[in-house]
Symmetry: C2
Amino acid sequence: MKTTAKTITSRHNPLIKRMREAIREHKEEIVIEGPKPVADAIANGWKAIAVLEREANISAEAFDSITETKNPQHVIGLFERPHASAADILGRRDTIAVALDAVQDPGNVGTIIRLAAAFDASGVLLLPGCADAFGPKAIRSSVGAILSVPIARITPQELFDANVPLVATAMDGERSDPPAKNGVIIFGNEGAGVSAEVQRHATKLAVAMSQRVDSLNVAATAAILLARSFALRS
Amino acid sequence: MKTTAKTITSRHNPLIKRMREAIREHKEEIVIEGPKPVADAIANGWKAIAVLEREANISAEAFDSITETKNPQHVIGLFERPHASAADILGRRDTIAVALDAVQDPGNVGTIIRLAAAFDASGVLLLPGCADAFGPKAIRSSVGAILSVPIARITPQELFDANVPLVATAMDGERSDPPAKNGVIIFGNEGAGVSAEVQRHATKLAVAMSQRVDSLNVAATAAILLARSFALRS
């Protein structure tokens, strides 16, 4: 981690530029805001590249040039993006894994990461087309769970080849209990659901409900099925 | 319903003022925006006071003075607020009722109304301190369910006197199944949960989960318990 002998005063400082880029791009470096989230990330083993505290090791003006949030935090950390292994997530046969197929809303991705922690899933696998789990809104929606839930990208083919039973949520699926362990429960895009290709490789499962609504949103579906899986496992 | 022989052209027209007031105050008159929601409300028996269509019976300028949404709809309806009876909701012993205790976020109120429809609850009872179920954000979050779910205000005392078993969600509650019927499931404030007074009159129930998160949000808790109640009843 970069130590902070000198106070940063210029908004053109290379580290400031790098932080702004991390916020905009969130590729291999990600930004965490707020003293508690930054401390929690370090405590959970995330690799900090730099931590800046407003009016301590960075001037107010330079600090304020980084973020545009209305309620600015006074501490900001630049971290290496954590990389979990999809094989490790799939290897845990004592619980279920979660996979997301083109879940586009970062709030939904973060909320489902929180549910994966609450109901002790082995991790969250991101199929193509998902919102970034490490973007600011997803991190906020996970309410800290992003720190303890293994998250990895995966291709459909890698998922099919994993030799773990796949269960895809689908409105026309069977209204039965989700697996308690040794399975992957797949939640789909907010509009289109789980893709046809993934459905073909999976058992289709639906939440039992009345005819009074057309569908449930993906976060509610995940809450119901992950809670039920946990209850069956306990 | 007011017929529309004359085109409204002035933003000072009394009906325009009344609509603006209904949007701001949402007391006894409420506003529904968009052609499909307005048609659905009428089809579900809501009493329309007036329906305005931009550039049909109202000038564009006068219409645009009513709403401030970024994606304005071209149809807007002023309706009498529907009033369901708390006694009718509580009288249905073949299913459960939902009660909300100071649930402040209108998005949560609307989402739980949608869940009440999905899982066939008899209705939603609003204890003091809840966001208005008929405000614009709650209506949007209910995705149409506001039209088919009976909603009524109730005081704690009326609830205690109803002689229906009360179940309050609480982190320290028993981790058991919710009632399948003949009961009221009470969900609490986003921060404080169900009030101590209501808890004293209720059996406390918690969702079984891991120690990895402190709590679940109220919409997720409602999804899990209402789905489980429905499954037990089916």
